[in-house]
Amino acid sequence: MSSKPQRGEASSQVTPVNPESPSALEERPAWLRWGPYLSDRQWGTVREDYSPGGAAWEFFSHDHARSRAYRWGEDGLLGICDDQGLLCFGLSLWNEADPILKERLFGLTGNEGNHGEDVKEAYFFLDNTPRHTYMKALYKYPQRAFPYTDLIAENQRRSRQDDEYELLDTGVFAENRYFDVTVEYAKSSPEDILIRISATNRGPDSAPLHLLPTLWFRNTWSWGRDDRQPSLKAAETDPARGHRLVYAHHWRFGNYTLACEGAPELLFTENDTNSQRLWNAPNRTPYVKDGINDAVVNGESDKVNPAASGTKVAAHYALAVEAGQTETVTLRLSHTEHRRPFVNAEQIFAPTNW
């Protein structure tokens, strides 16, 4: 039995929420401040659509998503955020075969699929508690290049009379050449979250895997309504301590710290639109939303900020996972800084603590 106060209990602690939103006057339990609130898809929604004809799927495409700042929300892979969607955490992956990072789930738009919109990924929600004190999900990431164009082309070719062409049909998982990537979150307190990412190579050979746990702020500063900008900064840390730190500061809720186990390279950029890529227009900021993608996938190291600050950061773990083996990385996102953030990690992940 844990000697700590019962986790996830209805609590008298109440956290203030966005003073600008009409729900601001409502009280919410502190344990619900953080949860799996990050969407799987923000592109292709009505909210992001400003076209004259209301063509929401086409106005903001999956191809734009990695380069273009969202106005009304964020998305990511098996991620979490606070209850105003201001500070977001998600997973990003690269297998050295894909043309882009796997930052978000891919799928066909309402007009691309032969039976309308459809996600074309393999992922599973395995566990979650009502106060989100423990959460677990699984993503199956192919080692071969993800069949983006094949999925679009084949489904376009098929008619309404045919079945849908699914990811498993493409053969990308043949010989089990994929990683089972499991993400687990466990709260030590309402604003102190342990994060464990485990990648198991199900294939017959050793395979490269870049794990890029990513922390970023929703863009609230580019719309001419409120110019105040939050910030992410690398902390000077002694490598002997066995982790690296990112400080997150937001004018609304103060500081958070992301501790990253080991000595990953920290890649910083801004959650701002790459207008150059999309519309051949000048960028508002020198570093842009797809900077980390370009630095990792194309080796363009000048696309991330050497000053180690920004509004989006990834901790870069370049791994080689042996056949049948599992590599694990642990992080901790918390309101207060811990001197030894991982010392009691096992205890916090234990089911008795949920």
Binding site: P22, D49, S51, G54, D75, H115, G116, F125, L168
Partner: protein
Amino acid sequence: MQRQAYAGLLWSKQFYYYDVSEWLNGDPAGPPPPQAHTDGRNAYWPHLNNADIISMPDTWEYPWFAAWDLAFHCVAFSHIDPEFAKNQLILLLREWYMHPNGQLPAYEWAFSDVNPPVHAWAALQVYRTEQAVTGKADRAFLERVFHKLMLNFTWWVNRKDSEGNNIFQGGFLGLDNIGVFDRSAELPTGGYLEQSDGTAWMGMFSLNMMTIALELARENVAYEDVATKFFEHFLYIAGAMNDLGGEGIDIWDEEDGFFYDVLLTPGVGPRPLKVRSLVGLIPMLAVETIDPELHHRLPNFFRRMRWFLNNRQDLASLVPSWEEPGIGKHRLLSIVPGDRLQRLLYRMLDTDKFLSPHGIRSISKSHEREPYHLQVDGTTYSVEYEPAESRSGLFGGNSNWRGPVWFPINALLIEALRKFHHYYGDQFQVECPSGSGEMLDLRQVSDDLASRLIAMFLRDEHGRRPVYGDNEIAQTDPHWRDNILFYEYFHGDTGAGLGASHQTGWTALVGHLITESAADRGPSDGERG
């Protein structure tokens, strides 16, 4: 399996942010949006200003709230976090969601679309589940919901009963392509459609409101006469559905023993559209029983009721059960009298018609051999049984209500059968499946349906999960086979998952069915199959 269903339900919470006024008019930093945007979609909803955590149907395929889906999510949530379920139901009724005229926002593609009015039903479910689990009756919650739903009810009556005859329209009502035409659009024939389901949903809404009012009246007499209001409104609707007004708009077809939508075209007589679909079964959902104990607590309600029934013998004949107390002296209110119920169930429980191995189909399999055709001005409109993905482009072709099994309606049917059983008891038996010679009471029928739905996700005797159909990797690979997906809808013959693959919104109702089936199976009826 239940753990994964609830995990998916919890994972599908999402921060949802949408300020329609700002969105219509654009931001100071950007170029002004095109006029067609500012005057276009959702321009009628400028008050809508959302920045909340909301339970989503599927955070990839439907990463936006959908009013009627959400009501079902709350029923599933009530078993694991009743506080959250109550807050979600209240949220949608707040001033920054509900339209000033009382309409609930449907979903961001078109907030003005009309979904079935299931909010009151969900509120009652959540209230009762919490009461059963925690012993706490949250009357303040029920009262808050009730006041707002009065506005919503009035919106329905004023907007969707175009002839003032207690027969309702409502458009597609969540059932996408179930009809002969797109029920949201102008009819190709002109005129309009008197809808069996629209009217039945309003009957159910009235009964749910009456029940809430009776519950609140236990401690506050102010609710007694509003309970009467909904009782009488229910009877008007039930009367209209059974053509007591004699206007010739008979939604019930005596020959077929089924309810149909009726097409009213100028210059032509009323034409029933004889598609055997859920539209004809939904009238069963309008059912409520009244506890005899209330008789002593609320004498005025019952006095008024007796007066009304004495003075409106035409309507009283519709609720004969009123005069014949059932098991434990319960009273029954239902649109469907006992003999019609028998006939509907005979069709519903026929494996060649509605009853699939894994639940009730959205349309009868009889339309496989006998498609329904309607000729209008040289064009033929058809409805065929399509058990898998939609073969037509209606509603984007993304969802299919022409054969597959859907959780929300199945869960409602199961609950309705349990209410009928509450009144009729074990004596009222039907053949299940029809023609099998096996006689079951309605509680047993509801259990049978629930177990068919639950079995979709469980390994069968061959170790295969029906939900994964002929997908060999998902069926057999040890790293796949126990990770379960909760789809949007299911193949009408095989139970294979279709549509959105992570719809642990309303398909998480399977968790609710498991809990309810386990909880209600008391020791006394433990020997029931």
